[in-house]
Symmetry: C2
Subunit: 294 residues, 2 copies
DNA sequence: TATTGCATTTTATAATTATAATATGTAATT
DNA sequence: AATTACATATTATAATTATAAAATGCAATA
């Protein structure tokens, strides 16, 4: 009857933290440091650490705190035995998107209607609806009810989105503040290479989509301008909903990854204008090939 | 104890509708038509019409509905006698922005803290906070409380915003779908001319700011791409908060309006590339001159 | 046939809790 | 000096209403 806890989220955060910092068995995990890192108080961090102790991932020592019980590499395999997984998005959110894309929901719907349909409490429904409104594909009507915008379902919006992405990304790269981040480039190169050398046949659709988005967002982040980055992130969230419904043409992926690598090459060679132009063509090319169910 | 009504809003909408359609005394106001126009049911429209009847703006005829009691031109003067005014934004929203800009609010605040400080109910506070989160200058923390982003207060963000606007607007104008809207151009020309010929001394700061924003949004709307338009609207909402705190240098306005008119001239002469380049310079020029209190 | 007027159903809100979770101050420990 | 352990204070949520408002069906009317 009270709110749900953030500590499962914190548990997942700690695991991720340990992994990305490649920590070794025996290293100390100071409570306040973790709390600051995740922007919460020590309370939920302690709850999370207690949980991790029962999972055998950390060890508690009286008056000294918690210490990692195994190397970061082993943590990953130990992880799935417990159930802590961040549920960063309510499945309800996706169901609404899917049902709208499948034509199962009218353009106008009332809150009570949705509550009955999905059998959820109003508070939970409203959370999803607010998130959706923030993303701009539904809006609250002045009286009762909510309305879907055409953002998700119209061919025209779909194409406008590609134009917007192509322009924003190209221009971001041309900004005087653009500064390639060596470390990020190295990581991106590794991911794209793995994807091109076989990953395109074995990775899940979600993994492929995520890798692609992260590549593009990494490039825009190099512009050091948060408005460009926010704009791209915002439109990528939308894309995720729409393109999940498009069958991935895996045969195109080697070409896509090699283009990604080519962009990295051009930037690193200081040929920024060429890179930006190529990036533009790369994005617009993708729009011409895919066809959404509309 | 129940929700507040939308009918005052509808009342204002009807007045605006009558005005922009330049309706004459005696014209019929069909209930369903108004309901459709404002996306509500007949119920709040009827409530609004009843209100307008008591104000003497419309007349009811039994079984025939409501009819305008005076020409649209007269409606405007009759309007202020009643109290119906749309309150499209909760003043609380602005108070939060002001208090943050004035340094009266810490970077982190709890909901209860804000409720006590402003003496408002949680529901009302949350509405403003959600709106603010949507605009991106505050965010909910994972545990308790909310945090301000630096969007409002940092010089760097301020400058990034100008770069973003300049790029988006220029690129919007260069899109193949860009199509100047004659009617809108005519209106914009009238407004900018009025502002340049004396309005800059007498108009209120809010009016000047609104005219400026509408000019730029009108230009971007001609691109026929909603993503570009949304991006500009989004950043203009932010600008409104920040720039209200900057003293307007009215001596610059004649120059600004003449630049606006010059842009319209170039577009109408078909010199789009020049217009876009000039627009870019125009926006970046403004950023160099103004200095926000940061 | 389109629209109103009215009665009825449906909807969403604002206020009010109980309660679990988060935040935090401080003495004890290393 | 930094950190933990624990006690206490503070915070936000989820559930539950009562109620006004919005939506809607339909007979009456123009």
């Amino acid at each position: 009857m009270a709110r749900q806890s953030v500590s499962p989220q914190i548990t997942a955060n700690i695991l991720e933290f340990v992994k990305t910092n490649e920590m070794r068995a025996g290293e100390h995990l100071p409570c306040q440091m973790l709390a600051d890192a995740f922007r919460v108080s020590r309370a939920p961090v302690n709850a999370a650490l207690k949980k991790l102790e029962t999972m055998g991932i950390v060890r508690a020592e009286p008056n000294r705190g918690y210490f990692l019980a195994m190397d970061a590499a082993k943590v990953e395999t130990a992880k799935p035995e417990g159930e802590p997984q961040r549920e960063e998005e309510d499945p309800l959110y996706f169901r609404i998107a899917e049902d709208r894309l499948a034509g199962k929901l009218d353009e106008r719907v009332s809150e009570n209607e949705l509550m009955r349909l999905y059998d959820v409490a109003r508070s939970r429904l409203l959370k999803s609806l607010h998130r959706i409104a923030e993303e701009g594909w539904m809006e609250r009507l002045p009286g009762n009810g909510w309305a879907f915008r055409e953002t998700l379902t119209s061919r025209k919006s779909y194409e406008e989105g590609y134009v917007f992405r192509a322009v924003i990304e190209q221009q971001a790269m041309l900004l005087p503040t653009f500064q390639p981040n060596e470390e990020e480039f190295r990581k991106a190169r590794a991911v794209q290479t793995a994807l091109g050398e076989g990953g395109y046949e074995t990775w899940s659709r979600a993994e492929i989509f995520k890798a692609n988005n992260e590549f593009h967002e990494m490039l825009v982040a190099c512009s050091q301008n948060d408005f460009f980055l926010d704009a791209i992130k915002r439109i990528n969230r939308l894309r995720r909903l729409i393109e999940y419904h498009i069958t991935i043409d895996r045969s195109r992926l080697p070409r896509q990854t090699s283009e990604h690598l080519h962009i990295l090459d051009l930037v690193e060679a200081g040929r920024r204008t060429e890179a930006a132009a190529f990036l533009y063509t790369h994005i617009m090319g993708a729009s011409r090939i895919k066809t959404p169910r509309v």
